[in-house]
């Protein structure tokens, strides 16, 4: 591979992977915060408001880092993928500009109100600002997924003589059926991250015997949401996403599953290492005929292997694709087990005393990040060697005038910058967690008139 091409790919891969660590948490936490605010409004119980305030702090820190690391993404389309931008900007620029116009304005305006305005706003208006932050962050996610979906499964375009794409149908771009399932799968993944993090912090407090009432609320909210969305992640969203890949990107599916040869009654490889040289899986642990069934609902259906495609149309890194996909699926399965187990314990009233389970929940927090990252790697490495699937190759898209040296220089610059950012982020997050949710305020517990009580506290 051309050295400059590799560096531009790494440049984007590194910055997007780092960036997505933050939005997945904010998008995942947003609905959980809305839930807490709703309960606070309905019950008037102060514990929900305090929980919402604590999570708003965590949200705020993540949001800032998300914004700061998000700006380079838009720039890089032009700086590092200039030819791609010239060809495809007329189409994907639409969704990116819509993200700015509809989602960012909304999100940033209401986040200001939500974080700084609790004392100025009525409880209902404050709930509303939390709700709008949720709407904004989820809209933002949709426009990004729609952009990626167009690259995975281009629709609604015409191609001009010079090779550039022009939009011909706005609604097919915005309602791309690939985007709808990918969005559902992606957002469910974000909620899994949000609920695992919420549960983990609750478990940490419970294990360290601090903030017990808040900890239990975090864990209860986290495991119930985590259980629902871990299941949704597999079915129907993951299943549908898989069928979409099988239908539109059979070469990617073959790479993900490590299926080198076209087979009738293809097996599903649970484990094993892809061996490019011998075009087979080493040390396989497979379920016979399962892949045919999962893909086409027939045990003896034929599934196309990599050998059905010319070498230049196959994903260019099959082992990485295979492992990314298997790590995602494997972790997803473990999440279901952990969360269903926790909900059962919760239902039996034993979760808060089950120390071993609290330890498991606390230590699980990093894994949804890994699973979400692996999922995106599966989608994007599976898309190779295409930038726009079937139409524009990756090698045709990068900025040819930016030398490998300049690309490497700025990649290293970003690595340094993000290291500093990580240190500051972890330090602040640690402090928020260490401080914990605010203690119970005696005045506010009198349920007579919340507003009066709140103003009494302020004075």
């Amino acid at each position: 591979m051309d050295q400059a091409l590799l560096i531009h790919r790494l440049h984007f891969a590194f910055t997007i992977t780092y960036h997505y660590l933050f939005p997945q948490l904010t998008m995942g936490l947003a609905p959980l915060i809305v839930y807490l605010k709703t309960m606070a409004l309905r019950t008037g119980d102060d514990k929900y408001s305090r929980a919402a305030r604590f999570w708003a702090k965590v949200f705020g820190i993540n949001f800032v880092v998300g914004v700061v690391t998000g700006i380079p993404m838009e720039f890089q389309f032009g700086t590092n993928w200039s030819h791609f931008s010239r060809f495809a900007g007329g189409v994907i620029g639409q969704t990116l500009a819509m993200e700015g116009t509809f989602a960012f304005f909304l999100e940033s305006a209401f986040l200001g109100l939500f974080l700084y305005g609790e004392k100025k706003l009525s409880p209902k208006m404050h709930w509303f600002s939390a709700f709008m932050v949720f709407v904004g962050s989820w809209l933002s996610g949709y426009f990004i997924v729609a952009t990626d979906a167009w690259m995975q499964h281009p629709v609604g375009y015409t191609r001009l003589a010079d090779g550039s794409f022009q939009l011909s149908s706005f609604w097919s771009l915005v309602l791309n059926d690939w985007a709808l399932w990918q969005y559902a799968h992606n957002m469910s993944g974000a909620v899994i991250t949000g609920s695992f993090v919420m549960t983990a912090i609750g478990a940490y407090y419970l294990l360290s015997k601090k903030h017990a009432d808040q900890a239990k609320l975090f864990i209860r909210t986290g495991v119930i949401a985590g259980c629902i969305f871990s299941v949704l992640q597999l079915f129907p969203t993951g299943d549908q996403q898989g069928r979409m890949v099988a239908h539109h990107q059979p070469a990617a599916l073959a790479g993900m599953e490590g299926l080198y040869r076209t087979q009738v009654g293809a097996p599903l490889h649970i484990m094993g290492q892809p061996d490019d040289k011998n075009a087979s899986i080493d040390n396989p642990l497979s379920v016979p005929k399962m892949l045919s069934f999962l893909t086409y609902q027939r045990w003896n259906a034929e599934v196309k292997g990599l050998d059905a495609f010319p070498k230049e149309d196959q994903p260019d890194n099959v082992p990485l694709l295979y492992f990314a996909y298997h790590i995602m699926v494997g972790l997803g399965t473990i999440f279901i087990a952990v969360m269903v187990g926790s909900v059962l314990l919760l239902w039996r009233g034993r979760l808060f005393d089950a120390k071993w389970m609290l330890w498991v929940l606390m230590l699980s927090a990093p894994f949804p990040y890994i699973a979400n990252t692996a999922g995106w790697m599966t989608a994007e490495i599976g898309r190779q060697p295409w930038l726009v699937y079937g139409l524009l190759r990756t090698v045709q898209g990068y900025s040819t005038l930016v030398s490998a040296g300049n690309g490497l220089f700025t990649l290293i610059g970003f690595m340094g910058m993000y290291t500093v950012l990580s240190i500051l982020f972890l330090f602040l997050l640690y402090r928020v967690i260490d401080e914990g949710p605010e203690p119970v305020e005696v005045q506010v517990r009198i349920p007579r008139d919340l507003k009066e009580a709140a103003s009494a506290v302020k004075n």
Binding site: S85, R86, G89, Q166
Partner: protein, 336 residues
Amino acid sequence: MVVAYAILDGFDLGAGAIHLIVARTDAERGSVVRAIGPVWDGNEVWLLAAGGVLYFAFPQLYASSFQGFYLPLMIVLWLLMLRAIGIEFRAQSTSQVWRGFFDTTFSIASGLLAVFFGAALGNVIRGVPLGPDGYFFEALWTNWHVVPNPGILDWYTVIAGVVALVALTVHGSLYVTLKTEGDVNARAHKIVSVLWPALLAVTLISLAATLYIRPELLDNYEKVPIGFAIPVLVFGSLAAMLWYHRGGREKGAFLASCAYLAGMLGGAAFAVYPNVLPASTGPQYSLTIENTVTGSYAMHVAFVWWVFGIVIAIGYFVFLFRMFKGKVSEAGGYGH
């Protein structure tokens, strides 16, 4: 939208640049940061939104200029990050030393951003070495001459950078006068008094320099004489700024500064039209509105959703600024 970004983010860049001078104590600095705290990231969103519109409406322009300005754009990104780190983490740190550190980071990054934005505009006016394929790549600097092989920084773009720094510093100081009281307010007023003559001077110098390197920019004005209203607006708003400022009318002075920025940008756009990225290598290579614009269908749909979206967005901002209107005090405010 670029104008909206310049005016909105302009004042927080400017406020950032004077941050260290205008506010001496920790509490004073806190009040400056609080004056821009709730609004700065919303303002920065204008940059992203404007970038997005540029991207789909003029893909060729986006592709060409972002590749050509690769190095300065990366520096701008890092500066934007440092600025965000400065302003956000300042509020979170408890130690004086760290706050001082973040204050300095914030201030320096803000000032440098103003210079880079000005230099970028200078590059567009001067023209860039576009090849026949519509692409170019510029080094950060070459021999500081504007021809034949310019860098991002040459004597002309440095002047443009200085104009931007001075103009945004004045703009930011005026915003600070609007939002603060006491010593900070007085010092911000003083900065405006000192810098106003400098602003007038650099505006005149940049005008002369522009006409020296690109005399043909006057053509549009000669063809459509109504365009001369723009320089009249620029100097009229400068005069109004001084008049309101002397009269102690902070709001009027700030609005005059907004008009000045809009006039400068509008004047530049009017002069280079129909080019969007003039070529220093010959007018036949210039990127114009016609040869970069996307298809008309896309522009039509986009126009519909854009108007719709922008009206809503302006609604949020009016609401937000009204919620946070008035002066900030040193002790608290905004429910921190």
